[in-house]
Amino acid sequence: MLLIKGAKIYPVIGSILDPGMILINDLGKIEAIGSTIDAPNAEIVDYTGKVILPGLIDAHSHIGIWGDGEGKAGYDGNEIPEPIVGKVNALDSVNPFQRSFAGAREGGITTVQILPGSGNPIGGLGFSCKTAGIIIDDMVIKNPTGLKGALGENPKRLHGKEFKHSPSTRMGTAALIRDYFQNAREYMIKKDEAKTRGEYFEIDLNLEPAYLVLKGEIPFRVHAHRHDDIVTAIRLCEEFGINYSIEHCTDGHLIAEFLGNKGAVAHVGPGLSSRGKVETANFTDRNPAILAKHGVKVCLMTDHPFLNCRHFLAYGAVAYKHGLSFDDTLKAMTINPAESLGIADRVGSLEPTKDADFIVLNGEPFTYTSVIEKTFIEGKLVWKRPVF
C-alpha cells in the first residue's frame, strides 16, 4: 500500500481536495481517496505543495506507428493501396520502444487511443493502451475501441491522385464507406442467421470490424475536418444507425449548434495547428470552447505526431486560454476521452477501484511556471522530469 498525501488533488469526478490523500493498493488501483485516510501500514509519500491530476488521456494518437525519429522505416500508419481495409488493427503496427511513448509519459499522457491513419476511407481498428511497457499486448486496456474512417482530402489525395483509383472525390469516399456498411449489414444478417441455426459461416475479416460497429460494440471514428465532411460523417452514421465520434472536427465551430443537437462526441485536435491543408483553413484555438458551449462532448487529442504529444498540456492551456473552462479543459483531457473510449471504469478520474494513473505537477496546470514532475501508471513511477 502506498499513501500519497499533502498535494492538492483534482480528482475530476468528485470535489477538489486541498490537500488530499490517495491510497494505492499493490495491484496499482486506487483503494481510497479523500481528505484524510487512515492507513497505518502504508508507505507514505509526501507531495506537500504539489498538484495531482489524473493521468491524461489522448483520444486520438499515432504513437508507435508514425515513425517518430525513425524516418520512413517507422511509418506504419496507412495500409495502402486498398481503400477499404477494415481487417487491419493498429495494434499490429505499434513499436512500444518508439520515443513517442516516452514523449507521451513526459507529457503526462498515461492512456492513448492509437488509430490507423486517415489515408483510407476505412482504415482499420484502433485500440486503447497505457503508455508504459515493452509488450504492447500487456499495455492494452481495450481492443478494439473503434473502427477508423476518413473523409475529406486525405483519402482522395492518396487514392485518387497517387494511385489513380477510387476514391478521387468526397462523394466517391462517402460511396465507398456506404458500400462497405451496406455489405456489412447483409453480412451481419447472414452471420446472425447462421449462428442461430448453428451452421458453418465463412468469416470475412475485412467486414468483421463493421459487424462490431453495426452491433453497437464499437463506434465508427470518422476523420473529418471540413464542416461538410463532418455533416457527411453524421449522415452516413445515421443511415446505418451506428455510434460515432468525429475525429479532428476542425470546422466544428462553424456548425456547433448542429453538433450539439446531435449530441456528438468530438475528438478535437491536433491543437496548435498550422492549417497545413485546405480543409484545415478555418482552424481556430477557440474550437474546443465553442463546441463545449453548444453541448458537444469535447475530448482533446494530439493526433501525435501532428501535435507532439509531449506538449498535450500546453494544448490544454491554449484551449483554456481561448474560453474552455478550467473544469471542462481537465475533463476534455481525462474523463471525457475515457468515456468516449469506453474505459471510464478504469481510467479518467481519481476514484476508488480505478487505476492509480496520475501526474504530479509543481503547481496549478496551464501556466509556464508549473510543470509535470512525475507521471505514474498503476501506482508506478514511469517518468520523472530530468534536471537539465
Binding site: G103, S274, R275, K277, P305, F388
Partner: protein, 388 residues
C-alpha cells in the same frame, strides 16, 4: 502621434521601466520614460499597468511562401528543380494575404524573416518583413536580402537522390556547396582584376547572386539539424571566411562548447515539433536550455508553418518551464532574433529611435494564457483584441 501610458515597459535592452510612458511619432519611438510630457494631440492608450514589450520577431519562417490552408497552389517554398538556386529570391514568392500574417499580428509578432525552404543546397535569398496588413510586400520590407539560404543533411539529398542527380549524400551536398562558393569567389576575383568593362567575365547568375555572400555582406543561413551537419556548416563557412547563421541546430546540446567557441548566430527550432526525420530524432528542449546555461546567445524559431508561428511565444514559455531563464527567453524572441536577422538597429528592443513595434500584453507575455491585447507596428495599431 501615439502614446502609451501607465505601462510596465520591458525594454529588453535597458531593463524594466515601471509605470512608464512611451511616445511614438512617424513610426519611431520618440521617447520613453516615467515623466514624459505627452503632447495634447497625441492619441493615448492607457495600458492600466499592463506589460509592454518590443514586437516579437520570428527569425526563420516560410510565411507567405508556404501559405496556410491553401495546399499546393500556395506552396512556393522550394525551387527544387536544381540543387543550386542562389538567384531565387523569397520576396518573389511572398503572398502578404496569407492568413498567417493575421495570426502573427494577433500573437504579437511584428517582424519575420522569410527564407526559401531546405530542399536545395543553396535555395536563394531571404527577406525580412513587417507583419503589416498590405498586399504589397515591397512596402513592408525591412531588409532584403537578409541572407542566403543553404541546407545540409537529409532534405537536400532527398529530392535529388530520387531523380537521380547529385547530391545524394552529405558529402555530395558539402561538395556542391563548396563548388558554388569557389566558382563565385573566382568570378569575383576575375571581376576585380579586369581593367575595362569589356573584359568582364560572362554574366553568371549563380556566381553573381553569391557575390554578397563571398564578400561577407549577407550571411549564409545554413539549415542543419544533426551534430555533424552543424560541424560541416561551420567548417565550410570558415574555409570561405563567410558570415553565417545556423538554422535549426537541433543537436546543439551535443556541441555546447563548440557553439560557444564559434560565437555564431543560432536559430533553434522548431522545438515543439516531433522527430519528423532521423536527423531531428532527439529534438527537445535540451538545446535551448544547455546553450542558455552556457550563456550562448540564440533565438528560437517555429520554422512556420512546421509549427505555426503564433506559438513562438508558447515555445519560449516551454523553454522557461524546462529551465531557461524567463528574461533570456523573452530576449531570444526579440533582440537576439533581431540580431540574428541583422536588423537590431531598427527593431528588437524599446529604445528611442527604433521602430515603434510593440505589444501590450494582458499579463506576463510568456505565460500560456496571456493574450497580445494590442499590437503596434511602425507606430500604428495593427491589432486590437476584442474581449468577449
Amino acid at each position: 502621434m501615439l502614446a502609451i501610458i501607465n505601462a510596465r515597459l520591458e525594454t529588453i535592452s535597458h531593463g524594466i521601466i515601471e509605470d512608464g510612458q512611451i511616445l511614438m511619432e512617424g513610426g519611431i519611438i520618440k521617447a520613453l520614460g516615467t515623466e514624459l510630457e505627452i503632447p495634447e494631440d497625441a492619441q493615448i492608450i492607457n495600458a492600466e499597468g499592463r506589460t509592454v514589450t518590443p514586437g516579437i520577431i520570428e527569425p526563420h519562417t516560410h510565411i507567405g511562401i508556404s501559405e496556410q490552408g491553401v495546399g499546393w497552389e500556395g506552396n512556393d517554398t522550394n525551387e527544387s528543380t536544381n540543387p543550386i538556386t542562389p538567384w531565387c529570391q523569397a520576396i518573389d514568392g511572398v503572398n502578404m494575404l496569407d492568413d498567417a500574417f493575421q495570426d502573427f499580428r494577433e500573437a504579437g509578432i511584428t517582424t519575420v524573416n522569410i527564407l526559401p525552404g531546405s530542399s536545395n543546397i543553396i535555395g536563394g535569398t531571404s527577406v525580412a518583413v513587417k507583419c503589416k496588413q498590405t498586399t504589397i510586400v515591397d512596402d513592408v520590407v525591412i531588409l532584403n536580402p537578409s541572407g542566403m539560404k543553404a541546407s545540409l543533411g537529409e532534405n537536400p539529398k532527398r529530392p535529388y537522390a530520387a531523380k537521380p542527380k547529385t547530391p545524394s549524400t552529405r558529402m555530395g551536398s558539402a561538395a556542391l556547396l563548396r563548388e558554388a562558393l569557389i566558382k563565385a569567389r573566382q568570378y569575383l576575383e576575375k571581376q576585380n582584376q579586369v581593367k575595362s568593362e569589356k573584359d568582364l567575365p560572362k554574366f553568371d547568375k549563380e556566381s553573381e547572386a553569391l557575390i554578397p555572400v563571398i564578400k561577407g555582406e549577407i550571411p549564409l543561413r545554413i539549415h542543419c539539424h544533426r551534430a555533424d551537419d552543424i560541424v560541416t556548416a561551420i567548417r565550410i563557412c570558415k574555409e570561405f571566411d563567410l558570415q553565417y547563421t545556423l538554422e535549426h541546430v537541433t543537436d546543439g546540446y551535443l556541441l555546447v562548447d563548440f557553439l560557444k567557441e564559434n560565437a555564431g548566430h543560432y536559430a533553434i527550432g522548431p522545438t515543439m515539433h516531433y522527430g519528423s526525420k532521423v536527423e531531428n530524432k532527439d529534438r527537445d528542449f535540451r538545446t535551448p536550455v544547455y546553450l542558455s546555461q552556457a550563456e550562448v546567445d540564440f533565438t528560437l524559431t517555429t520554422d512556420h508553418p512546421v509549427v505555426a508561428g503564433q506559438y513562438l511565444i508558447l515555445t519560449a514559455g516551454l523553454a522557461v518551464s524546462w529551465g531557461m531563464k524567463r528574461d533570456a527567453a523573452l530576449k531570444s524572441i526579440t533582440l537576439t532574433a533581431a540580431e540574428h536577422i541583422g536588423i537590431q538597429s531598427r527593431v528588437g528592443s524599446l529604445e528611442v529611435g527604433k521602430d515603434a513595434d510593440l505589444v501590450i500584453w494582458s499579463d506576463d507575455p510568456l505565460d500560456f494564457t496571456t493574450f497580445a491585447d494590442i499590437t503596434i507596428i511602425d507606430g500604428q495599431i495593427v491589432f486590437t483584441r476584442e474581449v468577449e
